[in-house]
């Protein structure tokens, strides 16, 4: 049973069609990454899945009882709004202190519950957003360029956290990412989007697809080589991520 099934989805933004006839599905436990140039409809796709945008055609079906955790692209907290991390995680309602502590620990920031949201660093803030997405014990985690604004080290450790969350909870992940080296090493499946689905498959298949090369050039061959290399050798996670950042720098 798929967690989420998108069939023949078209989405319009005013008169502009941002997505046309997109179909995809996410199976339990897999990591699926959406790549695509700016304006290719990646964010619209995620927003339609959570119900923030209405399909023009086609439909989005959630498996029965499937819960979704969502980490938005960017969240601006107005400085005039005083709110602690714990209060933020309690919204809209029904979360206990235990839920909050557990989610913060899972997201790797166990000590932040009393901090003011507006005073967090970029990395801390993303982890608090992750904690918020995790608090409902989701079957599917949606991440919209969750590492935007983080440096190499920050984003590498963020993705490591995601990987750990998946191992601990078994949730599936559907994410948008610009960081092709991360995509290629961490995903089970890659969907290349440009208003429509250009190509999809395992990272290796997508990276060699002509549609993908037309969008991203062949420069990412290096990332793919790294992916292969990494999977030929050891499974030490720290070393794994470390190698990636070095290779990219």
């Amino acid at each position: 049973m798929s967690l989420v099934q998108v069939e023949g989805l078209s989405v319009r933004y005013g008169a502009r069609t941002v997505l046309s006839r997109v179909s995809l599905s996410v199976q339990p436990g897999e990591i699926v990454t959406i790549v695509g140039p700016n304006g290719s409809g990646k964010t619209s796709l995620l927003r339609t899945i959570i119900g923030a945008m209405k399909p023009f055609q086609g439909h989005v079906t959630r498996g029965s009882g499937v819960t979704i955790g969502y980490v938005p692209q960017k969240l601006h907290i107005d400085k005039t709004l005083p709110i602690t991390v714990a209060r933020f995680l309690k919204l809209p309602s029904g979360r206990t202190a235990t839920d909050i502590d557990q989610a913060l620990t899972q997201a790797g920031v166990p000590d932040l519950s009393k901090a003011q949201l507006s005073q967090l660093s970029g990395g801390q803030f993303q982890r608090v957003l992750l904690a918020r997405a995790l608090i409902g014990k989701p079957d599917l985690l949606l991440l919209d360029e969750a590492t935007q604004g983080l440096d190499q080290r920050g984003s590498a450790s963020f993705y490591q956290q995601i990987d750990q969350v998946r191992q601990n909870t078994g949730c599936a992940v559907l994410m948008i990412s610009h960081e092709l080296h991360v995509v290629m090493s961490a995903s089970d499946r890659v969907i290349c989007l440009n208003g429509h689905v250009c190509c999809e498959g395992t990272p290796a298949v997508v990276a060699s697809a002509p549609e993908y090369r037309a969008l991203f050039g062949t420069g990412t061959g290096g990332a793919l080589a790294l992916y292969r290399h990494e999977h030929d050798h050891g499974h030490d996670h720290d070393k794994h991520t470390h190698n990636h950042t070095e290779a990219v720098e």
Binding site: G51, A52, L81, L91
Partner: protein, 264 residues
């Protein structure tokens, strides 16, 4: 006790401060200050219409304020430059309202009372309208509090939690219209936005949670009303503006103390 006009005035001011506190916080958090202004300014048109059709002022002002707030809600998010648009709407509503009032021949109305409020002339009837409206606003914002707060933080997060931000926006719009209708007698259309924004802004430096800020705004608003009235009595100054002046002094004090504490 209700026979004393000063007691009635104080109770009216406190009622408005209570309604304005939670709503004012949302106006500040959502950067709707100009939106509040436009809604309040439109109320003068409501006054003219109420008098023309011999309706209770409360009904007329609320209807027009609601209409204005809805218009702005519909227009917003369609790619117009909001500040320009609100500037146009706020001031043309005021101008049309003033012109409309001048057409009312035979009815002698004290325009100043609607522009700057006439808190000392609050009757028992006014008082029940003010407290009824304030209770409605507090109940409305209290009932939707979590949903409102979530959609204020981020609309997509609200959607992901099953909350419709558009519906919450409507709740706020409705509460704003009630507050404007209620506050017109106390501070007048020109200063209603001040009662919304200044106590909330003054409460910000001393608050750590949204709820704390709403309560602090309420206390600051009530104190401003009482102290402002007393000052107006002692110095023989206009009551509505005196209340706003006290609130402004509270804002200044709280900002200075706040920055001293954070600099330490």
């Amino acid at each position: 006790m209700f026979d004393d006009f000063m007691v009635r005035a104080a109770l009216a001011g406190i009622g408005v401060a209570i309604a304005a506190a939670p709503l004012g916080c949302f106006v500040v958090w959502r950067r709707m200050a100009y939106f509040g202004d436009a809604t309040a300014h439109a109320a003068i048109l409501g006054v003219a219409l109420s008098l023309a059709f011999s309706m209770p002022i409360f009904i007329g002002t609320m209807a027009v304020a609601l209409l204005m707030a809805l218009t702005v809600s519909v227009i917003s998010g369609r790619g117009y430059a909001m500040d320009t648009l609100l500037g146009v709407l706020a001031h043309s509503a005021l101008a049309f309202g003033l012109v409309a009032v001048s057409f009312l021949s035979g009815v002698r109305i004290d325009l100043m009372a609607y522009l700057f409020g006439d808190i000392l002339a609050v009757s028992r009837g006014d008082l029940s309208v003010i407290w009824g409206g304030a209770a409605l606003v507090v109940m409305l914002t209290g009932w939707r509090w979590s949903a409102l707060l979530t959609s204020t933080l981020n609309e997509d997060l609200a959607h992901a939690s099953g909350i419709d931000p558009k519906r919450e926006q409507l709740v706020l719009t409705f509460a704003l219209a009630i507050t404007v209708a209620v506050a017109i007698k106390v501070v007048g259309v020109l200063l209603i936005a001040a009662m919304l924004i200044i106590p909330a802004a003054a409460a910000r430096p001393m608050s750590r949670t949204p709820e704390g800020m709403a309560v602090a705004a309420g206390i600051i608003g009530m104190l401003s009303a009482v102290v402002g009235l007393r000052a107006a009595y002692v110095f023989d100054t206009p009551a509505g503006p005196s209340i706003v002046c006290v609130a402004a002094i509270a804002f200044l004090t709280s900002s200075v103390i706040g920055s001293l504490i954070s600099a330490r």
